[in-house]
């Protein structure tokens, strides 16, 4: 029997003591809500992973939701073409923090065999990715391994305030972009020239405020 902490005097035996960060990570990692961004055959394996035989529920990640507002894990399963990329980015931005991203399969990670004008050569060029799954398509076991590894990562690096995602001024900059783009009522993310102009304007806006 370990020596009792004097601060815990009077508490019953079955009380566990830990860091708040670790406790939050423990809750988060065992209740991931995946957003299935399935565009190709990897999506079929993703469905198999969620189905009863492989049973992703064993790892607490079985609640697939089709609204980014209800999800915290985006699984990009399949090739992403350049017409789809703005959609992918918008869905990623619509997800609430804390959020993570798994790039599933060769196409999502590198473009795979589709080295053509229309196919994005790896989603990590344009959105953040936490875990890559090799394979074409990966077996459900491989995706499950990636989710287990992601759980380890969340447990090791996570903080209750999300400091691991945070850098200075990020919320402010996002708001600045929205305020400038909204009156124009256009989708700036699809126009690279406008995007550069908006970034310059956003910097100016930040400098003023």
């Amino acid at each position: 029997m370990a020596m009792k902490d004097p601060g815990l005097e009077g508490l019953p035996e079955n009380v566990m003591v830990g860091k708040l960060d670790a406790l939050a990570n423990w809750c988060r990692k065992n209740s991931l809500w995946p957003m299935p961004f399935a565009t190709a055959c990897c999506g079929i394996e993703l469905m198999a992973t969620g189905a009863s035989k492989h049973d992703l529920a064993r790892f607490g990640a079985e609640v697939f939701r089709f609204s980014p507002r209800q999800c915290d894990l985006m699984i990009v399963a399949g090739r992403v073409v350049m017409k789809m990329l703005p959609v992918l980015q918008r869905i990623w931005q619509q997800m609430h923090e804390p959020k993570w991203c798994i790039s599933m399969g060769a196409c999502a990670s590198t473009g795979g065999v589709f080295d053509t004008y229309a196919v994005v050569q790896g989603i990590d060029r344009f959105i953040p990715v936490d875990m890559y799954v090799p394979g074409c398509p990966p077996r459900p076991e491989q995706l499950i391994q990636a989710i287990i590894d992601l759980q380890d990562k969340i447990q090791r690096e996570g903080t209750i305030t999300g400091r691991e995602f945070d850098t200075a001024g990020r919320q402010l900059r996002k708001r600045a972009l929205v305020e400038i783009a909204a009156p124009l009522s256009i989708d700036a993310s699809r126009n690279p020239v406008l995007q550069r102009e908006l970034a310059a304007e956003a910097d100016a806006f930040l400098a003023r405020s």
Binding site: Q89, D115, A118, F126, R190
Partner: protein, 177 residues
Amino acid sequence: MPFIPPPVDDVLAEVNGRFGPLESSLFRGQTRLIVPEARAFEVLEFLKEIGFDLLVDVSCVDYLEYRDPPMQCPSASGHRYGLVYLLAATATNQRLTIRVFVDDPDPTVASVVPLWKAANWLEREVWDLFGIRFTGHPDLRRLVMPEEFTAHPLRKDYPLQGRGERHNFPVITRDRS
């Protein structure tokens, strides 16, 4: 057994009687008729009147740097774009392929949307991927590529990996999402 459509000799006789001799060829039981671009619409209109009521497909081929005359037809050689109209007559089960050749700059042909509503999206796709302009089309916008795309990617002089369009997006990093 492969489907061999009924011969179209009677149709060719009618068309040639009306529009003068047009070059045609036969390949694996399928007849192809080459029509000059200026007369394409009236020939197609006539074919619809005599029973070709179904437009199966409108497509295109870019013959840039093609060595032999397409289909071994002299009147097809030297042209860059070959449009393909696949027609079917539902009453007689006859099939007929119409080829119309157009060239740079500004390859143009009359739209057949007034004849077949099905041509609407088919012609938009050909415009999108080959840059053939269909005059008289009610809504000639891109069909498959993004609106802001500027090239026509199935042309043979367009590089397979594009001109950087697939890299031309804002990058969303952790601190900006």
